[in-house]
Symmetry: D2
Subunit: 381 residues, 4 copies
């Protein structure tokens, strides 16, 4: 029998159940710039919730399901009635993030950010609308009308991507199960089957706290990391990829070898920022990738979205809205925080991920922790 029933319940790996199992980059002694928040996670931004649906299933014909859905809700379920300001940027647009045309135009993110595999965008799109309708009220405009934000990276090396295994119930589980608190990393949610620098990739997160004009603000980042060739990998400036050469996914790098990558970055903050400022924040994710050695290769959909939870006025149309914003001259601390958190979140994804065997027997090794520590030492870390 080709299709075994996928058991949903155990597949919803929440941050809490997973936390503590996987080490993080700092646990290995790697140091990064800046001051992380208490969880060093996107959920350090108050109100943000994250849910994962993780689908791991072996099919009778040698195929394998290694995929999932990750949901990031800016204000938990309140997001639906109380949008947030947002902005986005594509460093290399070989990927999909639906809903960005309206995000650009309105300056608002009106629902969750969903992340899945490339060929499940449609299912997640429609299921997110259906889930939204089941909440029982039209959106803030008074219409039943949704333009969901659904992003993806390609997991076809480990996952039977053309089997369309993500179903509406998985989308619901990610949305309904989203919580604040620690966030599971590595082989979970949308990141389940991902590959990064030819090591096992997946979900990673990090955060930074900065002071601006006497107040403390948090920048939280979540990535679904699935890009890069081995030799490009730098960790905290160390050319790790030039040393850890074994178990490459593309033994003979060919022109299309980089064609299947991508990285989605979600940046959350509680700093009061206007839409054009959030677009600036989103753009900084590129510099975090730069620190880790990315060249944003042709095949990589490097798409970033940023939002701020600070604005309480959005979602009304019966009066002038009132906003606060950080003056441009004071915004650089938030830029730095974004770059730093992106840099660390990607490494966290690599450190948390585990070896995986998937579709067609493909096997991808995780970044070996001991060997990594060894290389870091050679470079004085």
């Amino acid at each position: 029998m080709r299709w075994r029933t996928v058991l949903i319940a155990p597949l919803l790996v929440t941050g809490i159940s997973f936390a503590g199992e996987a080490p993080r980059a700092r646990d290995l002694g790697i140091s990064f710039d800046g001051n992380p928040g208490p969880l060093n996670a996107i959920t350090d931004v108050a109100g943000v919730t994250v849910g994962h649906s993780t689908l791991i299933e072996d099919l009778a014909d040698g195929g394998a399901v290694r995929t999932g859905v990750t949901a990031v809700l800016p204000r938990g379920k309140e997001t639906l009635m109380r949008p947030v300001f947002g902005g986005w940027f594509a460093l290399n647009g070989n990927g999909e993030m639906t809903g960005t045309t309206w995000l650009d135009e309105s300056g608002q993110l009106e629902g969750p950010v969903m992340i899945t595999n490339t060929h499940s965008v449609g299912t997640v799109h429609q299921a997110t609308i259906a889930w939204r309708i089941r909440q029982g009220e039209p959106d803030a405009t008074g219409y039943w009308w949704a333009l969901p934000v659904v992003a993806e990276t390609w997991d076809g090396h480990l996952n039977d991507i053309n089997g369309f295994h993500v179903k509406p119930e998985h989308v619901d589980a990610a949305l309904d199960g989203a919580t604040s608190g620690p966030v599971a990393e590595g082989n979970v949610g949308g990141g389940t089957g991902m590959v990064c620098y030819e090591f096992k990739g997946g979900i990673g997160t990090a955060s930074r706290v900065v002071d601006v004009l006497g107040s403390s603000y948090t920048v939280g980042v979540l990535v679904q990391a699935n890009y890069g060739l081995r030799e490009q990998l730098r960790i905290a400036g160390v050319p790790v990829g030039k040393h850890l050469r074994e178990h490459r996914v593309y033994s003979e790098p060919d022109p299309g070898a980089d064609g299947t990558g991508s990285i989605i970055v979600v940046v959350a903050t509680d700093a009061p920022l206007l839409p054009h400022q959030l677009e600036r924040i989103a753009r900084r994710a590129a510099l975090g990738l730069g620190r880790n050695g990315s060249i944003a290769s042709n095949g990589s959909g490097d798409i970033f979205v940023a939002f701020s939870t600070a604005d309480d006025s959005l979602g009304r149309a019966d009066q002038l809205l009132v906003h606060r914003s950080i003056p441009n001259d004071e915004i650089s601390a938030l830029f730095g925080a974004t770059v730093e958190a992106v840099e660390e979140a990607i490494i966290n994804a690599l450190v948390a991920a585990r070896d995986m065997t998937g579709d067609q027997g493909h096997n991808v090794k995780a970044l070996p922790h001991d060997a990594l520590i060894e290389v870091m030492k050679q470079y004085g870390r």
Copy 2:
């Protein structure tokens, strides 16, 4: 019984079967600038095929299905292996057109342009990938990897949009049934339940032929028209909407009255143009809307995509590609053709559409031909 089976076969209204039934704007004596092609349709561009799946169904509970899918294939099914250059533009981004991030980045349109209702984007997205996979070959990069272009406008006034009635088989029917030749207009395909200037709207098409550097090129346009308030309507410069005041959809225009509109414009040409030039072409659709009185209101997703079938080299990665292009200094004739064809295609949609009663008993009247002719006469036409 709430769900009656939708019979697919009779719902696939091809251009040929429908042609001749619906009059077109020129049949009413309205004149437009420029020289149309033989069909005055997007299919005047050789190779372009168009398919409609039209869903019309009354539900037992008073609900109604009035929706569909329209597929535009730049080279028919060959598009999958032989991409075309393309570009896009959002005049007002309150809508969705998936796949545009990659279109921007690659300069290429690698499959059909699909148009449906707002809440069926997901179904059409995934079904288009599935259809593509069934063609039996990976795309030109060697990967099974698709980022379909799916656009939408909102038909929730006449259609039970939250019933998600578009199914994969309707997508297949639109794609498989796409043909060259005359294109059905009005209440067909994705345009089935659309409303435009508070008259019944839908699909419209037109074309222009121009000479550039001694060669003849065709610009073909297809629109799914679903935008505008009555008083804004101008036809060939005549303020028709100020005279034909009856049967308005929004009897008391309120601030959100325009919130449900949108127009998708597809521009095809056989003129050799590079991606950045096609983006320029797409942008000209705004001027066609301007002629018809549009203000691109906040709620309108006015999103335009343009492609050229001239380039034969795309889809290969084993050698340098060779392209031809119209010099920028000679491109204005194509800009003019685009503006003119968009202007006429929208009016063709209005003229072809017929009265429709739909969901919740909502009724939308078509533009009354006799009254229109009367108004045109008053203004010396």
Copy 3:
């Protein structure tokens, strides 16, 4: 002697001295949509000042100076210390508007909008910085650091453009002489030597007043109109250009005939709008051009900038800024106002302009008022 001294003083034609001399489109009985403000000018937006330096001089060698500078100051001279929110859009970027990269990034317009001829951008750029420095204080960041916004259209048909006749003193005169009140139109300021639809063009202005959420807001527009071929001209929907065929500038329209046009549009409003909303406003200028028949030909630099004077918090960096904004769902009235005011401002430029003989004896006729009225009548106006 080739260079006669240009007398500056009499060349500074202020709105007041000129008003009353030139008729406006409405004086000819042409009707437009919407409700104009008291002056039907950009200066209906409180605080906005406009200054023109007009250079008209015959040179001994048959050359002629027919050019100038127009300055639009969002808050008069206060603009320098109190920036305004702004946004911009290029419908066809065959032109220059400096300062837009920072406008995009910061969301702020930090000084005046200057408009001149193509080859005088440099002089105006530097002179605007020098003028700014002479005001005696650094800008709001505490630095002497300016990125002026200088736009242009090409007047080389009537003006000895390669003579670089605009000098710093002309820039100063436009800036220092800027006033509120009526705005001179036609052959003045930067518009002195301009040509539009092959009639004499130049400066035009118009405004609209709309109610949003119980408050009254003004949208004011100023254009420097220098684009278009005769047959494209529509006035209030009437195809005027197809009837008034005499005295064309390009007797044998050739491919490059449209290569020298352009239009700069400045949109001012007192409605509270954020930068991304002002970019939306700027984009609507395209629809006003569309109503008048523009195809945005290749040679036309159609560049638009919009700003709002409503925000009082900008220019500080020592505290959070507080902003108000119109909800997106209520913004469409301002879109409509923009389209309408742009449509009328261009026609005002044509109506106010007068016949001019300039460089190399080139002569350009103004739009003949009587003949225009005749054509309008034929079309029931």
Copy 4:
């Protein structure tokens, strides 16, 4: 006497006369990824010429002139009649690069790229037009009509920027003196008074050679580097800025401390690329900055332009143009080359620059070579 005559001739420092004097990063044993061309300079791209005008002058009142102009000509003087394809990107748009609106629209760079200080953009703009006119022929469109590309960074710490010391003759000297061959780095040309990571900055260059589809292509980069805070500096991944803490320019970093930076990057290549592909190349400069620790702070105008000399068909309007392009799937090697060359060019600017005392007695130290080598060793390099 405040104004001493600036002697032009000795100030034109050509690459050849300067080469050999200043060491480069590789001379200090620093290693970078990839294979440089013979000169490791932008002039490794055949046809590209570079000219510097360097202005160093002490004024009687304690003021100092420390500024200049750098000209990059894609095809030497032939550029004027034979444009190149180009694209650009602003990572942070707090700066000016004129001419980009037309570059975006046309896809073509029709003249040199000029780089100077912020307040001399106007002089350089107009002088570049005047120089172009003196070449004796209109541009390829047949019109005397120029939209020069002039970029800037701010040198007001070392240079009397409000004295407007750059004059037309300096612009001419940079243009007329442009040569192929080695390129002077450090305190030369537009880079004369620049500061980078609080060390003396200025002009830097580097190149890479890559194979694509069996052919060898060169990517050359030139930067005018003037950005960054000390602690951000990474060299080849080593956190140099955390160790070399002396002689900071901003002893007490304040919020506006980063407000005066910027970097202009010019990327040249002989690889056949279309405009949209060159925009992709330009965007990769961000990743080179990321490697060096940049956060693209608010005050930094980080603006990048890329062009390709491969296309021979541009500049004609009498026939279809014929282009070649690298398929997208093969372009990543050029992306990597761009990232690598930008990374190295910035470090070359720092290594070549020398201590400078300038306006108001401000002194900026160069990166100390011995101390740098010491830090690199600590980190295993």
